[in-house]
C-alpha cells in the first residue's frame, strides 16, 4: 500500500528529529576516581561532610548491594554495565557558599538558558516556582528560600538537610524505599550524591510549586539523586521535576531514588517531565534511567499523585508506586511514555492497598514509534485488611509505524473479597485517515501528529501543573488544550 508506506515515512520524518539538547558544558570537575569500593563511598561522604550514621548507612547498603544481582525481568535489553568503569562523584568547581545567582559559574547559567530554563528569569517571575537546580551532583542555586521559610517549608538539597535537619532525614531516609529494596535503589543508597529534600509542616499548603531541574553533564558519571519529601498532617505540596541531558557517546547510568511520605490528610502531587538523552537512532549513548520512586500514604485520608511524561532515555525502568497504608488514602498514577527509534521503556506503577477503603487510579498512555518497545507493567495488590479497596486501571497504547511494539503486563493480586479492581486496555495506531483529515484542514504533518498524540494523552496531560505545560509542549510537540490562559 503506497499510502501506508508514505504515512510511515512522513511520521518517521516528524518523529525522527534530532535531540535538541545535545551539547556539553565545559567546566572543571572535581571528581572521585573511577570505580566503586568502600574508598569511593568514604570519599563521597567526606566530600559532603556527612555524619557517621550516614556513612555507616551507605557502607551497609554497599555491602548488601555486592550480594545482589542486577534484575533482568524487565522487557529491556542492554550490554552489561561495568560498575567499576564509572565515576561516582563529580561536582562543578565553584566557590563555596553562594550568596546569590551572580556567584554561580556563568557557564552553568548559560547551559540552563540553552535548555530554556533561565534561573534569572525565573527569579523575576516572582512567586511562581522555586528552583533547587541540580547540576551533576551538587546543587548550585536555590531560590525563593525566604518565602518558603516564612511558611516553615524546608526545601533544600539533601546534603544540606543532612546538616540542618538531621533528625528528619534520619527518621525518613530509607523508610519508604529501604536501602536494600532493589539492586539500583541499593546502589543509590550507597553512593547517592545529591537531590532534594522537602518538608511541609502540619497544616501548611505550600505557597508555590516546588521545582528541580536535573541535568547530567559529566562523561561517564552515574547520577544518583536522592529525593525525600515529607508532608505532615493536613499539608499539601506540588513538586515538579524535569530534566534534559547533553549528548554523549557512552551510556550514562541514572539510578535515582525518590521517597514520599504523606501523613494524615496530607497530599503530595509529584510531576515529572523526563527528557534525558535517548541516544542516537540506534540508542547508542543514551541514558539508562533506572529509577525507584515510591510514596507512602501513611496517614488517614492522605493522597499521593504521580504524573509523569517520559520522553527521553535509551532505557526507562521506572514504577512510581503508592503504598496505601492509611484508611481512605488515595493513590494516583498518570503516565505518558513516548519511545522512538531504539528507545525502550518498561514503566508502570504499583498500588499496594493495605488500609480500608483505599482507592487508586492508574491511567497509562504509551506511544511507540520507530523500532521502540514500550511496556506497561503494573501491580495492583490488595491486602487482607483492605476492606472496600478500589482500583481502576486504564492502559492505552498508540503505535506509530509498523516496527515498534507495545506491551501491557498487569499483575493483580487481591486477598480481600470486597475489593473492586477494574482493568481496561486498548491498542491503536495513528491512522492515515486521521493524518489526512488533519492535513486537509491545513495542519502540517508535524502538527497533525502532535494534535492526535495530544488527544490521545489528554487525560494525563491535564494532570500536569501549568508550569510544566510549556515544557511538555516542547517535548511532545503538542499544544496543550486550554490549560494555559
Amino acid at each position: 500500500m503506497a499510502a501506508t508506506v508514505d504515512t510511515v515515512r512522513q511520521v518517521e520524518e516528524v518523529t525522527g528529529r534530532a535531540y535538541k539538547h545535545g551539547f556539553v558544558t565545559d567546566i572543571d570537575m572535581d571528581m572521585a576516581p573511577k570505580g566503586l569500593d568502600e574508598t569511593t563511598i568514604r570519599f563521597i561522604s567526606a566530600k559532603k561532610e556527612e555524619p557517621e550514621w550516614l556513612l555507616e548507612w551507605r557502607l551497609k547498603a554497599f555491602q548488601q548491594w555486592q550480594q545482589m544481582k542486577e534484575p533482568n525481568w524487565a522487557k529491556v535489553g542492554y550490554p552489561p554495565i561495568d560498575y567499576q568503569d564509572l565515576y561516582y562523584y563529580a561536582a562543578p568547581t565553584q566557590k563555596p557558599q553562594l550568596n546569590s545567582l551572580d556567584e554561580v559559574d556563568p557557564e552553568l547559567l548559560a547551559t540552563y538558558e540553552k535548555l530554556g530554563i533561565p534561573l534569572k528569569e525565573q527569579e523575576i517571575l516572582a512567586g511562581v516556582v522555586a528552583v533547587d537546580a541540580v547540576f551533576d551532583s551538587v546543587s548550585v542555586a536555590t531560590t525563593y528560600k525566604k518565602e518558603l521559610e516564612k511558611h516553615g517549608v524546608v526545601f533544600c538539597s539533601i546534603s544540606e538537610a543532612v546538616r540542618t535537619h538531621p533528625d528528619l532525614v534520619k527518621r525518613y531516609l530509607g523508610s519508604v524505599v529501604p536501602a536494600a529494596d532493589n539492586y539500583f535503589a541499593c546502589l543509590n543508597s550507597a553512593v547517592f550524591t545529591d537531590g532534594s529534600f522537602v518538608y511541609i509542616p502540619k497544616g501548611v499548603r505550600c505557597p508555590m510549586e516546588l521545582s528541580t531541574y536535573f541535568r547530567i553533564n559529566a562523561q561517564n558519571t552515574g547520577q544518583f539523586e536522592r529525593t525525600l519529601i515529607v508532608a505532615e498532617e493536613g499539608s499539601y505540596v506540588s513538586y515538579l521535576e524535569g530534566c534534559t541531558a547533553p549528548q554523549r557517546d557512552e551510556n550514562q547510568l541514572h539510578a535515582a531514588v525518590v521517597e514520599l511520605v504523606a501523613l494524615d490528610d496530607a497530599e503530595i502531587k509529584y510531576s515529572t517531565v523526563q527528557n534525558w538523552y535517548p541516544g542516537d537512532e540506534d540508542g547508542k549513548g543514551g541514558i539508562y534511567n533506572f529509577v525507584t520512586k515510591r510514596g507512602a500514604c501513611r496517614g488517614k485520608r492522605s493522597k499521593i499523585s504521580w504524573t509523569q511524561v517520559e520522553t527521553g532515555s535509551a532505557i526507562t525502568w521506572k514504577y512510581p508506586s503508592c503504598i496505601l497504608q492509611g484508611d481512605d488514602s488515595v493513590g494516583e498514577f498518570y503516565s505518558v511514555a513516548i519511545t522512538n527509534n531504539a528507545q525502550q521503556a518498561d514503566t508502570g506503577t504499583k498500588m499496594i492497598h493495605l488500609g480500608k477503603n483505599t482507592r487508586s487510579t492508574i491511567i497509562s498512555k504509551g506511544i511507540s514509534a520507530g523500532r521502540a518497545d514500550n511496556t506497561y507493567r503494573g501491580l495492583v495488590r490488595v491486602g487482607k485488611r483492605a476492606d472496600g479497596a478500589r482500583n481502576f486501571t486504564q492502559c492505552d497504547s498508540l503505535l506509530i509505524g509498523d516496527k515498534c511494539g507495545a506491551h501491557t503486563v498487569p499483575y493483580i493480586e487481591s486477598k480481600n473479597p470486597s475489593a473492586r479492581i477494574e482493568h481496561e486496555a486498548t491498542t491503536s495506531k495513528i491512522s492515515e485517515d486521521q493524518l489526512f483529515y488533519c492535513m486537509s484542514r491545513g495542519l502540517s504533518t508535524e502538527d497533525s501528529v502532535g494534535l492526535i498524540v495530544n488527544g490521545f494523552c489528554k487525560e494525563v496531560m491535564k494532570e500536569l501543573p501549568m508550569e510544566f505545560a510549556v515544557e511538555a509542549q516542547k517535548l511532545i510537540g503538542i499544544s496543550l488544550e486550554g490549560s494555559v490562559g
Binding site: 512522513q10 492535513m439 486537509s440 502538527d447 494523552c457 489528554k458
Partner: protein
C-alpha cells in the same frame, strides 16, 4: 480565467488507473455537481484535488486561482483555499471540536505570517456559526466526530467549512447517511456559504441533494472520464434512466 482548472487529469491508486483524462473548469461563484455510478472515480477525484497521499497523478494539471495544486501537499492546499467535506469524517479521540477548529485557523494564519487568533473572539465567532447549523456547544466540547451521529458528523463538516472560509469546497457525498431533515439543515448551511467568490464541487449519487443545493452545471462521471455535462435537466434525466447509458457507452 476560471477559479479551478482541471486539464487532462490522470490518476491511479496502487498502480491502478482510476481517472483517465478529466477536463473541468469551474468559475468563481459557480456550483458544479458530479454524478456517477459507484466506482466511476468520484471519490478519487475529491482525494486527488485535496492532495491525499497514495493518489498518484500521472498526467495533467490542476490549478486553483492560477496556482499549481499538484505542487502542494494536502495542508498547503488547505491553506491555499481547498476544503474537502468528507463522506466519512474521521474520529479524533481527545481532540475537542473547538481545539481542532482553532488549530486549523491558526495553521492558516501562521502560513501567511499572522498572529494566532484571539481566543475569545474566535469562540464567539464559532458559536454564532455553529448555532445556524444546529451544532451545540456540547458538540464543540466533545472529541471531533467521536460518538457523533451521521447527521452530526456532516453538520460538523459544514461548520468547519464555514469557519475556515475556503475558496473552493468539495462536498463528497455529503447527503449520504442523512435523513431528510438533516439534509435540509446541511443544504441550508452550504447554500449560506455560496458567494460570488467561492466555488463548489458537489459529488453525489442522487439527484435529491441537488434539489436542495442547486448546481449551475452537472457532470456525469463514468470510467474515469466526464461523459456528459449539462444543466439541471441532466440530473432529472439520470434520475429516470439511471447511469446505464453511460456505463455501457463507455464500456
Amino acid at each position: 480565467m476560471a477559479l479551478l482548472e482541471i486539464e487532462n487529469l490522470h490518476a491511479e491508486v496502487d498502480g491502478k488507473p482510476i481517472l483517465k483524462g478529466i477536463d473541468l473548469s469551474i468559475e468563481a461563484g459557480q456550483v458544479h455537481a458530479i454524478m456517477g455510478p459507484n466506482g466511476s472515480g468520484k471519490s478519487t477525484l475529491s482525494y486527488v484535488l485535496a492532495g491525499r497521499e497514495g493518489y498518484e497523478v500521472t498526467e495533467g494539471s490542476i490549478r486553483l486561482d492560477g496556482h499549481d495544486l499538484l505542487e502542494m501537499e494536502a495542508d498547503e492546499r488547505a491553506v491555499a483555499g481547498v476544503f474537502l467535506a468528507m463522506q466519512y469524517p474521521v474520529e479524533l479521540p481527545g481532540v475537542t471540536g473547538m481545539t481542532f477548529l482553532r488549530e486549523a485557523v491558526n495553521a492558516r494564519r501562521k502560513a501567511v505570517g499572522e498572529e494566532e487568533i484571539d481566543a475569545m473572539g474566535f469562540l464567539k465567532m464559532v458559536r454564532a456559526k455553529a448555532k445556524t447549523l444546529g451544532v451545540t456547544d456540547d458538540m464543540l466540547k466533545r472529541a471531533v466526530n467521536v460518538g457523533f451521529s451521521g447527521g452530526e458528523k456532516k453538520r460538523n463538516e459544514i461548520l468547519q467549512m464555514a469557519v475556515l472560509e475556503p475558496k473552493f469546497c468539495i462536498l463528497d457525498e455529503t447527503d449520504s447517511g442523512l435523513d431528510i431533515d438533516a439534509l435540509k439543515v446541511v443544504s441550508e448551511g452550504v447554500n449560506a456559504l455560496r458567494t460570488p467568490e467561492r466555488s463548489m464541487l458537489v459529488i453525489t449519487h442522487y439527484q435529491r441533494l441537488l434539489n436542495h443545493i442547486e448546481p449551475d452545471v452537472i457532470h456525469v462521471l463514468a470510467h474515469g472520464r466526464i461523459q456528459k455535462s449539462g444543466g439541471k435537466e441532466l440530473a432529472l434525466e439520470l434520475e429516470q434512466n439511471g447511469y446505464a447509458d453511460f456505463v455501457e457507452a463507455a464500456a
